[in-house]
Amino acid sequence: METTNVDYKAERAGYYKVLVGLLLLTAVTFIQPHMFMTDSNFMVQMFIGTVKAWMILIYYMHLKGEKLIGWSVLFSLLLVVFFYIMVIIDVNHFQFLDLSHITSEVTSSGAANASAAH
C-alpha cells in the first residue's frame, strides 16, 4: 500500500461507515431469532455472518482490487466448502446411523434426568 496520496478524511469516513454497517448487522443478529425467519435461524445467522465477513475482508482488510490475494482467499474458501460438502454428505448418508451408538439421544439415565430438568 502506497503511503503517498492518502486521503485521510475519506478513508476515515469509510471506516466509520463500515463500522455502522457492522453494528447494524450485529443488531439484526440479535433481533432476528425473535422477529423473522425463526425456522431457519441457523441459515440466517450464517448468512449475516458471511455478509459481515465480506465487509471486513473488502474494506478493513483492503481486499478490493487485490487480484492474486483475492483469488487465493477464494480458492481456500472453496476448498473448505468442498470439505464440508463431502464430509456432511458422507455422515448423513451413512446407512446405519440410526442404529449407531453415537447418535443415540441419551447417554445415561442421569442424562435423561438432566434434560428432563431442563
Binding site: M86, D90, H93, Q95
Partner: protein
Amino acid sequence: MSKTYFDETHCAIGHPKSTFMQWMLTVDHKRIGLMYAAVMFTFFFVAVATALAMRFELFAPGAQFMDGDTFNQAFTLHGVIMIFLFIVPGIPAIFGNIVMPLMIGAKDVSFPRLNWFTFWLYIAGCIIAVSSLWVGEGFADTGWTFYAPYSLNTGTNVIMTLVAAFVLGMASILTGLNFLVTIHRLRAPGMGFFQMPLFVWGIYATAWIQLLATPVVGITLILAILEKYFGIGIFDPSKGGDPVLFEHLFWIYSHPAVYLMILPAFGIMSEIIPTFSRKEIFGYRTIALSSASIAGIGYLVWGHHLFTSGMSDMAKVIFSFLTFFVAIPTGIKFYDWVATMYGGKIVLSTPMLWALGTLITFAIGGLTGVTIAMVGVDIHLQDTYYSVAHFHYAMLGGVAFLLFAGMHYWFPLCFGKMYSEKHAKNAFYLQFIGFNMLWFPMFIAGYLGMPRRYFDYLPEFQIYHQVSFFGAVIFITGLVYMFVTFYKGIKNGEKTTPNPWNATTLEWHLPSAPPPLENHSKVPYVDFRPYEYKHGEPVVKFDYVTMKRID
C-alpha cells in the same frame, strides 16, 4: 579464485567468526538446503535401520526377536520418520532451497530469516519426535496415521509424537509460504509463469498444498491432544464422538500430502529428461498445468483411504470416481516425458538412468494406485501388503528415486566436483534390482490376503517375505554404495565446470561451481524458454560477468 557459498555467508544474527556458528546461523538458501540434506540423511538412516529390522522380523512366521509391541513401535517410527521427517520436507527443503532461487534468478528466498527459523523449527520437531523414544512409555505405537480411538487409548508416548508432527507441519507450512512469495515476487525480469523451469512449477504446486492442507492435520493433531488431556469428546465414541471424523480430517491433509511429495519429484524428472535428451521438452504447458491440476484435484479425493472405514457407500462411490481424475494428468505427464525422448540424443548418464528407472517404478506404483482406486477392489486390498507395496513403489520408487536422481544431477552444482560415474551406475543397478525384488512380491502377498502391520503371519506368506528380505539386503547395499560414491566425490572428485551437463536452465549459468554467495553475478533478463536446444547445444548463452546474452 572467486569465493563460493562455502567460503562466506550472511547470518541471521551478527557475524560470528567460527565456521561452525556461520553454518548454524546462516540464512543463505544453499547452505540451508545442504543442512536439511545432512539432517534428513541422518534420520533417514534410523528409519532404514528400522525397516531392515522389520524385514528381519518378517523373515519367518512367529516372533523372531521382536514382540508385537516392539514391532508396532518399529513401523510407527519408520512411518513417522519417513513421512514427516524425510519425504514431506524432502525435495522442497533440499532442492527447493538450493536450486529454486537459482532457477528463477533470485538472490535468495523472499524471507531468508524465516527460512533459517524454519530450519530450526524442523530440527526441533525432529528432536521431539526422536526423543520420545526414551521419554515416558516409549515411542508411539499407533502407526503413522494416529487413528482415534487407538491413539487416545494407548499408553505410549503419543502426545510427544503428535506435537512433533505438529511442529514439523508448521515448518512445512512456513517453507511453502516462503516459496510461494519467492516465486511470485522474485522471478528475474521477463520471466513469466510459463518461462519458469518445470521444477519451479513443481515446487509452486507443492507449496500450495503445504500451505493449505497442512493446517488441517495440524488442528486435527491438536484436537487429539486436547481429547487426551481434557476429554473434549470429539473423537471419543462414549461421548458421542465419531472416530470416522478423525479419519476424514487426517486424510484431508494426508492425501494431498502424497502429491506434495511427488510433484517436486516430477519437477526433477522434467529437468533431467530434456537435458539428457538434448532437446526441448515436449508439451511444456501441459506438464506445468498438470502439476497444478494434480495439486488441485488431489484435494478432492482423500476419501479413497476410507473405503472400508464404515463411510457411507454414497461417499465411497463419489471419492472413487474423483480419484481416477488424478491419474489422468499424471498420465499426460508420462506421455510428454516419453515424447520428449523421441528424436533426441539420449545420454545415459547416472541422473538419466535414475529418471528412466523411476518412469518404470512409478508407473507400477501409480497403476497399482489406480487398482485400489476401484472401490470394489480396494475393499479386498485395503490394509493389505498390496497397498503397502503401492505406496513404497510411489514414495520410494517415485519420490526417493527422483530425489536420488536430483542428487546426482545437481551434485556438481552444489560441490563443484564430480562423483565417479562408474560406481554411481553400479549403485543404481543394485538398487533398481533390489527395490523390485523387495516390493514386487508384496503385491502378490497382499492380493492373497496378507494384512499389513502384522509382525507374525500365516506360513503361506513366508516365500514372499523371504524374497522381499533378500531384495531389501541388495537394495540397502546399493544405497550404502551410492552414499560412499557421493562421499568420495565430495572428498576427492574431479573439479567440474559450472555446466557439466550442457543444461539450459538458469542455475547452470553461474560464474562458478559451487555458486558464489549471492548467486548470479547480476540478475539476467529472461526472454527465452527454459529448455531451448538447437542441435543438441543450449541456445541461450550468457556472459557470466555481465549476465548478458551472447548467443
